[in-house]
Symmetry: C2
Subunit: 108 residues, 2 copies
DNA sequence: TTGCTCCGTAAGTCATAGCTAACTGTAAGC
DNA sequence: GCTTACAGTTAGCTATGACTTACGGAGCAA
């Protein structure tokens, strides 16, 4: 389970909307679909992609099925980004000190 | 400039390879392309996408053109992920305490 | 100025992925 | 046991995007 799969899973706007719908707590497919302009099968497919990326976990509740955000899955993405961030920030600080012009105004 | 564009930019494996090639410092288009199994225009297009997402900045160096990671652009993505992380972790802890079974074994 | 090198853009092709519609499977209720 | 309701799966269509080839522009050297 790599961070690439998680990034790809969160890249799609609709899928990200599905993911963010779980931010308030566990939801079923139908509940999520009712709040989005896409069909229920589409939501189900997005949830499958999120599940494959280990970003959500599901749990049967009678005939329905509850999906919730899987925090440990988010951790890997966070770790990758943090490593990148530390590296980039260090170089950015060096760059900002050596260059005279302010970096935030740099070639916009 | 939303985090959605940044996520979409980093979702593609090749584009992520281009981005990670900049981790060691500023590089030109040709340098990056020589280390990847894609053509130079492809790298150029990926760099444009990364630039549009405010993840990199470019700078002319004679006939060449140096690209570098733009740390402030990464910050927005980090902030979004952190907010999500805090929320998800809180719910995950609550879930782990209420449920008897360990969450990491939950319906794999 | 001419030639070389490096880069960006346009056009075209091809693969991937997201969507809907239709079908199947399963649990709850009478 | 049958019906109903909810979720997952599959097929097919469409659209998006990633890639290459070809072309044009800009800077440096002779």
């Amino acid at each position: 389970m790599t961070y690439g799969a998680k990034l790809a899973a969160l890249a799609d706007p609709t899928r990200r909307a599905v993911f963010e719908a779980l931010r308030g707590g566990p939801r079923s497919v139908g509940e999520i679909a009712s709040g989005l302009p896409v069909s229920r099968p589409a939501v189900s497919q997005h949830l499958k992609a999120l599940k494959d990326a280990d970003l959500v976990r599901d749990e049967p509740r009678g005939t329905a099925r509850l999906y919730r955000i899987h925090a440990p899955g988010l951790l890997e993405l966070r770790t990758w980004l943090d490593g990148f961030w530390d590296d980039a920030l260090e170089r950015f600080k060096t760059f900002a000190e050596t260059e005279s012009e302010p970096p935030s105004e740099d070639r916009q």
